[in-house]
Structure formats: C-alpha cells, structure tokens
C-alpha cells in the first residue's frame, strides 16, 4: 500500500488547517453560504436531506485494517454507527456536524486519509479495479499509476475550478472491472509487443442525464506521457467545456459536440506543447511508487488446497461462496475474497462500525492487512490463503456478511436515493431491499446466474443504472415515486448503455416488473449457461417489452 512520507503528511495536515480556517470563517459569518459552498464541496461536505454528509476518499479503493478501524471509529463517535460505501470507492457518513468536520479530518489524516476532492467541480477520487494488485488476469498493478494521478490531481492549480466534476478510472485487466468506458478519462494499462507499458486512453464517457460510452483517443499512450496527456485533456476541457448549462458541462458533451476527430486533434496539439517536459513520468518514479504496492510477502503454496477442497465438499454453502465470492489470485494458493455488503433485505453498501471493525480484524489476520472497496459497494479481502477461506467464511457469517451472492441478482447497486439525498426524485434503497427479498431464495439466484441490477434515485445516476443489465431509475411523477426500467446496460469491456424499455412502474409495481423481466429471460435463454446480458443482446428488448406491457 501507499504510505505517506513527511511530505504527504504535511500536505494533508495543511489541507486540514486550511479547511478548519474555512469552517471557522463560515461559522463566524465572514463567509456567506454561497462563498462557502464550493469550498466545503471541494472537501467532500454536502448538505443532504437530514444533515451534512461527509464523503471520504478511499483512493483507488485500497484500504488498510487500521484505516477501516478509523472509519468505524468515526462512525461511532461522530455519526450513527454505520457508513455507506459508494459506487465511487468512497465512504459517506450521513449525520455529520459541520463543527466536527475539522476534527474528523484530523483523525483521518492520522491514518493517511482525507476527503480532498470527493466532490466539487474538480478531479475526483481516482478509482481502479477493485481486484488491482491481486487479480490473476491483470497485466500489472494499475494502482501505482492511480496514485501518481491522485497526487498530480490533488489541489491542481489549474484544474480546481472545472466546468463540472471529472472522474478518472484505471484498470489493467482485459476484463474491465473499473468501468473505464463510462468515465471522463478511462485508462487501460497494457503492454506492447516490446514489453513497454502504456495506456489505452478513453475520453468522454459518463452517465447522468446524457449517458455516453467513451471514445478511445489513444490505443497506446506510453507510460512516460501519462500526466502530460491527462494535463492536455484537462486543459482542453477547462477552456472549452461548456459553462452555460450545468447539464451540458461534462467533457462527454464537449467530445460529442466537437466530435471525436476534433477533440483528439485539440488534445494532441496541447499535448505536443507539454510532452517531454516537467510532467514526464520517469521509470524511476514509477518504480519508487510501485514499491509501495509490492505484493505482500505471500508464502508459496500449492495451487490446490486440499483442506479447502474437502471443506467445500461437505459444506454446500461454502462451495457456493467459493464459486461466487472468491476470484483467482495471481499467486497460487490464494484467492480474492469478496465480502458482500448485500445481505438479503439490507441497504446496499452499508456497514456498521462493528462490522467494519470485525472486517478489519479479518483483513489483518487473513489478508496481509489489506482491503479493497469495490464500485459495486462490496468489500474485498485481496490476499486470502485458500486454506483460510472456510474460517473467514464462518467469521463473515457470524457478522451477517456471509452472503454468497457476488454478481447475483441480489448483489444490487443502489444509490442513497430519497432516503438521504437532497437531489433525489424517488427512493432507491427500499426498492433494492424489496427486490433482494423477492429473490432471496438462493437456488433461484443460482438459476438466474450473473445479473447486475443497478438503481438510481434520480437522473444523476450515482447508482449506475445506465450500465445495469437491469437498470432502475426513480422519477417523480406528480409527487409519486415511479421507476423506469432500462435493459442491456453494461459497464465492462463490452460497455453499453441500457435502453429504456417503456413507461415507468409505480413503487408497488416495480418489483413485479423486474421479476417479469427475469422470468422472461429464464424462458428465453438459449441454455442455462447463457447469462441475462447475452440473451438480451441476442433478442433485443421486444420480448421483454411484450412481457411487461402486453398482457
């Protein structure tokens, strides 16, 4: 993991002092709310439905046990004993007192954390593949680059007042778990024939009101040019992005309006003036940062664990857990273990302080002290010995987090919605809970197989509904909650935006409607091995539409 040195510590300490000063000026009345709002947002403080919300960055989703314990502690002392993991690898607390924020930031700084740029019109927390650094299929660990980007983008003197927010995601595996094609900049680390590292660069993806899949502007950007190229993209965006209409201010609209060729030309022209100068990413600097991310010292083990195999044979629950929640590790004898924060009927992505504490203990004991947070609102123990999986599973069951449902229909992504969010049109969490309960039967989940349901409470799409295999969007219809269904979205390397299937459903009708879609799929799939998305892509929306609307 990245560890702060003196410089990094000084940086966050100064930021805490700066924000403390800003809060004091607000409370004394020197700053008006209008003046303060952009300042608090740049440090992750929102005013939500019930109170101030604090959004804490978990850069590229990597967390240590100590950090998770600190988050648990903050939940206990300053909030209501639980936190909400978001779709952007952040953690939110919902009832934070403004007066307490400087103190909380200080507590975070002690464990090398912060809330810098978790909101506001700036470069947001850089996200990454949540299996990064452990995945068997990755070319290399993408996190050193994510860290380099994090540093470069932190309080950038030129890009702190952009037209709109700006999100960067990094992945290094052919299977894209970081949804890079729906980010403002998506970076796909790869190796060329000579063995040099570089990036496929995607620009202008995004969700929200106008969802768009990014355009690939470079197939192979050499590693050395990473920052200069990003700086060029940001500069073009800062100067040319629309500022007259907040709904048209994201870079995706600029890419769309300028056209792919023209934006590429503009970026390349800007890049030509920046290339080879101060921002060159040198190999020694990459190595220096990469050393922090070295694989922990994992003892060599046989690729197959007899104990694990035997335990799976006698315990079907463990066998299912192994199938769904354990992914291949790059080191033989280890697995990547997903802790589903989606127990049946629970609010997606929430964890109590006690659960966080218990998970931190597990990470410390069984996962080389490391954790990941996924954009799917789950937690990950990246380095678990296969031998240890049965005991970790048992421990998880004890704290109510042993659900073997990763990637299943009940592994639902949902934004906070109208229960918490001041921008919401409708509630998301109760819909997720009812769906989860409807499909609680594990055999039914197994039968349905891979299926991603994603729910947003308004068109801002924090619940990523556009890229849900089944997406659900809450809308307000004359004071009533209504839910629109989109089908066929996907955030992976086969990225597509879901298509609206027809008129929305009432709160009472939405769960039945989703069930109808799923039953239709079960009837129409070519075989039990054909997942929902494949069936949908093969048949299109007609049969689903018919099942939903023609009775």
């Amino acid at each position: 993991m990245y560890r702060y040195d003196e410089f990094d510590h000084a940086f966050v300490q100064e930021r805490v002092a700066e924000f403390r000063d800003q809060v004091a000026r607000r409370l004394s009345g020197e700053l008006t709310e209008d003046q303060f709002k952009p300042l608090r947002l740049m440090n992750g403080v929102y005013l939500q439905l019930h109170a101030y919300m604090l959004r804490i960055a978990i850069p590229y989703g990597t967390l240590s046990s100590r950090q998770l314990r600190r988050l648990a502690h903050i939940g206990r002392v300053y909030d209501r004993d639980f936190g909400h993991f978001t779709t952007r690898q952040n953690l939110q607390f919902n009832w934070i007192r403004l007066e307490d924020v400087p103190k909380i930031l200080e507590e975070l700084a002690e464990v090398e954390m912060h809330a810098i740029q978790t909101s506001g019109n700036c470069i947001r927390n850089v996200t990454a593949d949540h299996f990064a650094g452990a995945a068997a299929d990755e070319v290399a660990d993408p996190r050193p680059y994510a860290e380099i980007l994090r540093q470069w983008s932190s309080l950038h003197p030129e890009f702190s007042f952009l037209p709109r927010k700006f999100k960067v995601a990094v992945t290094a595996a052919p299977h894209d778990r970081a949804a890079v094609q729906v980010h403002d900049i998506g970076l796909h680390l790869k190796m060329n024939e000579k063995g040099d590292r570089g990036f496929a660069v995607w620009v202008g993806g995004g969700q929200g009101r106008t969802p768009m899949v990014a355009k690939k502007v470079r197939d192979f950007l050499p590693e050395a040019n990473l920052l200069a190229y990003c700086e060029a993209i940001l500069r073009v965006y800062n100067l040319e992005g629309r500022r007259d209409n907040k709904y048209k201010a994201r870079i995706k609209i600029l890419v769309h309006e300028m056209g792919e060729a023209e934006i590429t030309r503009a970026v390349e022209a800007e890049f030509a003036t920046l290339q080879g100068k101060a921002l060159t990413v040198s190999a020694p600097e990459v190595d220096r940062i990469a050393r922090y991310f070295a694989l922990p010292d994992l003892k060599a083990l046989p690729a197959v664990s007899e104990a694990y195999e035997a335990a799976k044979r006698v315990d079907p629950a463990l066998a299912l857990f192994a199938k769904r929640n354990v992914h291949p590790h790059k080191v033989p004898g280890y697995g990547i273990l997903t802790i589903s924060l989606k127990p049946i009927g629970a609010p997606p992505g929430d964890a109590t302080s006690d659960q966080m504490g218990a998970i931190a203990d597990l990470a410390e004991r069984y996962s080389a002290d490391e954790l990941r947070v996924s954009h799917e609102q789950n937690l990950v123990l990246p380095h678990v010995k296969l031998d240890d999986i049965p005991v970790v599973f048992a421990q998880l069951q004890k704290i109510g987090l042993g659900s073997a449902n990763a990637g299943f229909v009940t592994d639902i992504i949902a934004c906070p919605g109208l229960d918490f969010c001041s921008l919401a049109n409708a509630r998301s969490i109760p819909v997720a809970q009812r769906l989860s309960e409807r499909f609680a039967d594990i055999d039914r989940q197994v039968d349905i197989g891979d299926l991603k349901i994603k729910i947003s409470g308004c068109i801002n799409a924090c619940g990523h509904h556009h890229v849900g295999h089944i997406g659900i969007l809450g809308v307000d219809r004359k004071g009533e909650e209504f839910y629109q269904i989109t089908l066929g979205g996907s955030g992976d390397e086969t990225c597509s935006i879901g298509e609206i299937v027809g008129p929305g459903f009432s709160s009472d009708g939405i769960v039945d409607a989703v069930e109808t879609v799923i039953e239709t799929y079960l009837k129409l799939r070519a075989s039990a091995d054909e997942p929902f998305l494949a069936t949908y892509r093969r048949l299109g929306q007609e049969p689903f539409k018919e099942a939903l609307y023609v009775r």
Binding site: R26, H50, R97, D350
Partner: protein, 98 residues
C-alpha cells in the same frame, strides 16, 4: 403563457442548522426547532411571504442554511421528501446484527 395560480396551501419554514446541519423548522417564537409540529404555519400568502423573509434573515444572520417554505397538510409536511426530512429515512437503519 401564464400558468393558473396554484391555490394557496398552508406552509412552514424549514432549513438546516448551520452548525450541526440538523433539519429545523421556524417556530412561533422565531426559534428554530427540530420538531415540525412546533413550526409556525402561515395560512395566507402574506403570512407566507413574511415567514420566508424572516427565515431568510436568519440565513443571512448565519443561523440556518437553505431556508425554504414547504407545504403542510394537517400540520405535517405534505410531500414525501419533506416527510422523510422530518422523520428520517424510511428504512431500518443498519445496526448490530441480531
């Protein structure tokens, strides 16, 4: 095109406390209370205008933020959003597992 004027519905003033962020309502004594039931209800347009002006003055005096008038029905916030603001999330909040 001029929209037909909406019939007036009784309103109260709500905001968030500057320091804590708590949801508050302006009561008859000009204090901000956490209880919607204590809120002063404006039953006429004039009373509503006056109430909003007072709430905004409290905003300018750095007591509350984002003051607005919301409709009430039988003394309770009328919309779902405002009912949730008043009584909290509609879900069972996560607690220690049973």
């Amino acid at each position: 095109m001029v929209k037909a004027a909406k019939p007036f519905r009784p309103v109260v003033a709500t905001a968030n406390d500057l320091r804590s962020g708590a949801v508050v309502y302006r009561d008859r004594d000009g204090k901000w209370s956490k209880h919607a039931s204590l809120a002063e209800i404006a039953n006429t347009q004039d009373a509503a205008d006056r109430l909003l002006a007072l709430a905004r003055a409290d905003h300018d005096a750095n007591i509350v933020v984002e003051p607005v008038l919301i409709e009430v029905d039988g003394g309770k916030p009328a919309t779902l959003r405002e009912r949730i603001r008043d009584t909290g999330p509609t879900i069972v909040l996560p607690g220690p597992p049973v």
